[in-house]
Every structure is written in structure tokens, then in C-alpha cells.
């Protein structure tokens, strides 16, 4: 077990080193959500106004939790693209011929993707405090837990696809096809439970929905009843995807 711990730690450490050395990567995954926030949040808010009455949050504020989800989502995609790069560059082969259990590699990738996603989200929260969106001290722990578990789920999803796909282009195509709708129908952009029936059903099946709701409540009122549900949904979905990936990775190629 201590071998596994050390292997996971060092593989995790590698991802962090790579992340800090690819400046374009963290600028890209931090700037994109910010840009979306100012463009969509500002544009939609100004166009349609705030019809929820005085004192209720505007669209700019409404969208903020969704922007945090987007930051986690982008980071998790970029993290798991590296699975394909590792295979092409030969690093993966170097890992697979050592006696380290292969689930170590899977877990390190997922943990690092989730941690880096959380880091980006925290930076965004700090940036947002300049615009007046303040996350209360008492809400931080819950928000961090939600963002991290969301990162686990999204990176595990990315890993499951990256392992079976051989091209970065194909991976991006598939991930856009799955993650974009997941993001849009999670309540990030609009409350899904007020939309058409079909969207409501998809929203209910979408694990991300269960994290966006408590996250929004925590940020706006620093209190939520559904933190537990959100965490359970995230961790359960993560566990399932992790199990699928590990069973694939352990199997030698035929």
C-alpha cells in the first residue's frame, strides 16, 4: 500500500508540475470561463433584465456557479487529454511495464484533474470578489467539497473516454458532445426545472445538476439543505466511472 501511495503522490506531483510549466494551459482554462461569464452573464443580464423583483440576484450572479463548474470542466478535459498524450509520447508504456498497480495511474490522473480544477475555481471566486460576489466564510468548506467532487466526476468521465480513444481530436469531439450539454443542462445557465419536460428529465439524470443547486445556494445565501445529496451524487458517479476505467486499464491488450 505504501508503494501505491508513493506512486500516486508522484504521478499527481508530475501532473501539477506539467500544469505549472504549460502557462498557456492555465491561462486558457482560467480566461475562458471568465470571458464566458462577462459575455453571456453581462449580455443576457442586460438584454432581458432582472424580472425576479428587487433584491433578487441578477443573471450575472445567477450564472457565477455555472462558471465555476465550467472552470472545473475545462480543467478536467485538459487533464485527461494528457492520457492520450502520455500514450503517444510513450510515458504511459513506461508506467504500465512497472509493477505498480495500474489503478494508481488512474487515480493519480483523476485526483490531479480534480485538484487543478478546484484551484482554478478558487481563483475565479477570488477574482469574482472584486465584482462584489462574496462567498461567506461559512460557505467555503461546502463549496470546496462540491467543486472537488465535481472535478472527480468530470475527470473520471474524461479518463474513461481518453483510455479508449486514440486521437486528441476525436476526444475533444466526443467530450464537447457530452460535456457541453451536461454543463448547459445542469442549471448553470438557466433553471432546468422550469424548462420543457424533456429537459427536466435530462436535468434530473444529469449528476452535475445535484451539485450546481447547492453550490448556487451556498454562494447566494451561504446555506443549503442539499449539500449531502450533491456530494453523494458526485461521488457515486465518480466511483462508477473509476471502477469502469480501472477494469479497462487492468486488462492487457489482446
Amino acid at each position: 500500500m505504501s508503494q501505491s501511495l508513493r506512486a500516486i503522490w508522484y504521478l499527481f506531483y508530475r501532473e501539477v508540475l506539467r500544469f505549472t510549466r504549460l502557462r498557456s494551459r492555465w491561462i486558457g482554462s482560467l480566461a475562458t470561463p471568465l470571458l464566458f461569464w462577462f459575455m453571456i452573464g453581462g449580455g443576457v443580464g442586460a438584454s432581458f433584465g432582472n424580472d425576479s423583483g428587487p433584491g433578487a440576484p441578477g443573471y450575472f450572479e445567477f450564472m457565477f456557479p455555472g462558471i465555476l463548474v465550467m472552470a472545473v470542466l475545462f480543467t478536467s478535459i485538459f487533464s485527461t487529454v494528457s492520457v492520450i498524450e502520455d500514450r503517444h509520447q510513450g510515458f504511459l508504456q513506461g508506467v504500465l511495464v512497472t509493477s505498480v498497480p495500474r489503478w494508481n495511474f488512474v487515480l493519480a490522473k483523476i485526483l490531479s484533474g480534480a485538484a487543478l480544477g478546484l484551484l482554478q475555481a478558487v481563483l475565479l471566486i477570488l477574482v469574482a470578489s472584486l465584482t462584489g460576489i462574496q462567498v461567506a466564510l461559512s460557505a467555503w468548506a461546502g463549496a470546496v467539497l462540491l467543486l472537488f467532487s465535481m472535478g472527480l466526476l468530470l475527470t473520471a468521465l474524461g479518463f474513461a473516454f481518453a483510455w479508449i480513444l486514440d486521437s486528441v481530436q476525436g476526444f475533444h469531439g466526443i467530450m464537447n458532445l457530452i460535456l457541453m450539454p451536461m454543463w448547459i443542462l445542469s442549471g448553470s445557465l438557466f433553471p432546468v426545472d422550469r424548462g420543457p419536460k424533456l429537459l427536466q428529465i435530462i436535468g434530473m439524470l444529469n449528476p452535475l445538476s445535484y451539485a450546481v443547486k447547492p453550490l448556487r445556494e451556498l454562494i447566494s445565501t451561504s446555506h443549503t439543505e442539499s449539500l449531502g445529496t450533491g456530494l453523494i451524487a458526485m461521488v457515486a458517479a465518480f466511483a462508477l466511472l473509476f471502477f469502469i476505467s480501472v477494469s479497462r486499464v487492468e486488462k492487457p491488450a489482446k
Binding site: R14, Q89, G90, F91, T98, V100, P252, K254
Partner: protein, 310 residues
Amino acid sequence: MSQSTADIVSAIDVRDLHFRYQKAESDALKGLSLQAHYGKITGLLGPNGSGKSTAFQIISTQRTPDSGESFVGGYSSTKDPRKVRRLLGVTFQTPSIDPLLTVRENLEIHAALLGLQGNYQKIIDEKLNFFGLLNQANHRSKTLSGGMQRRVELAKTLMGEPKILLLDEPTTGLDPLARADFWHLLRKIALGGVGILVTTHLMEEAELCDHLLFIAHGKLSASGTPMELKSSFPYEVIWLESSVTQSMVEKQFGDRVRVRQEGDRLRLETTHGLSVLDELRKSFSEQIKGFSWGKASLADVYFEKSGVKL
């Protein structure tokens, strides 16, 4: 593993491997058997597509054969993959070091993956020293020359003191000097008792092996020391520098010689080198500017055994 067992058990023992890729029309391996021994460098040669890399992947537990078995240090690659991985050090054709990390960071991560205990900075420093990389330790790997990167690769492979090395075209892309240097290091490693199985396409590298295995069409086509293989070739080779043409030689000697033009020289294969030379001198004394005569080269044997007709 104790020394006495190591002496009895082959480092690598591959028996009657069969393997077919999904959707392929024929088998990549058709009953391949081979052995490599401790303390020796065994060279594996074969044309592209002959099955070398497939065999490597099976030996290193990356693929499961359709039938047959592969043993590394006495352990089955299919039944005891983790024990096999613990004994093996593998270098693939494609580099496996992370270009964004420094040399030391690469080695640190690999040490953790190998489960090295205690103070492995000492082992890392030893390897850096052995491979002449101490000055590059804190450089990012991508800034190193191709030769230096290959050294890092080999240092990484040797981190866990493997008893058996599997090297797939380890000198690809190296200049002649870096290559000679690499083989010098390999010999040093073999002298420490490590069994090495290495693939190469270069005859001058094959000459440096203790034992050679030729593989063609998914199975072994010949094996032996470089000397044994050269002696097994039934022909002697004469190189002729002259204005004599291929057809003139063919007319004179008929089927006693095989002749072909190579560059501005004629290459003759014959079982009676001396008498053919005498006859050439008598018939074409005016035209001949120079000649050489000797035993077949390793390349000759290799082409013959691979079924290549030039």
C-alpha cells in the same frame, strides 16, 4: 532470486508463441521460440513487421498471446505479470521520459513507480553519474540532445536494478558516436550479470552481441554467435572494382557464381573463392583495378535468412 537459480533458468524463455492482431489476415507470430541468458547481450534482428515488437509486448506483459508461453526469470508473463514487471527493465522505441520534467524529476517519478524504498536520491545520483548526466540533472529533458535523452531513458530503465533488460531499437536516432557510447554502456551492464535482449537493424550493432536471433515471418529463422552465423553462410564474397560487366562475369562462370552490381563494384558469391579469383585475373587482368575477397558478412546471412532476394 539466488545466483544458482539464475544460472539454471534462462533470463528470457519464449516458447511457441502465436499471436494474431484483431482484424489481421495472418498471424504476427507463428510459433516463435527464443532464449536470452544472464550476463549476455542477445540481439534480435528481423525486417519491419517480422514480429519483433509484438514479441516484446508479450514478453513485457503488455499483450496476451493466443497460444504459447513467455517466461521471464522463470515467471510466466501471463500468469505472473507483476513478478515479471518487477524483474524487467524495458526501453521502448518511443521515448518514455516526460519532456517537460527535468532529468532528476523523471528519475524520481520512476523510482516511486518501481517502489524503491528508502533514500533513492542516492540511487538516482549513482545512475546520473554512471551515465554522465550529473551536469544535466536539473535540465528539462526536452532541452537535451537525442543521445543524452537516450541515456536518461536507459538510466530510468536501470533504476530498479533489473536483472533482465528488454531494449527495442534503443539507439534509434543516435549519431555513430553516441551509439558506440551506448553499446559500451550496455556491455558494462551485461558484465554485471544482467541478461539483455535488444533489437536492432544495424549490422555493426549485431556484431557486438554475444548471441543473435534472426526472426522472419513471425518465427525464428536462425540463431548463433555472430561468428557461427557467418560461418554458416555457404558462400564467400568477392568484390570487384573493374570495367568488367555483370553479363561478362555471368557468361564466363555460369552458375558457379552469383553476381550483381552494387554501386560501381561487382559483388560475386561463390563456394570456390580462390579459383574464381585466379580465373578472373587470367581473363580480365587488364580491366581489374582492385578486389577484395572474404567470408560473408552478417548482413549477407541476414538477407539470406530473411528470404530477401536482392
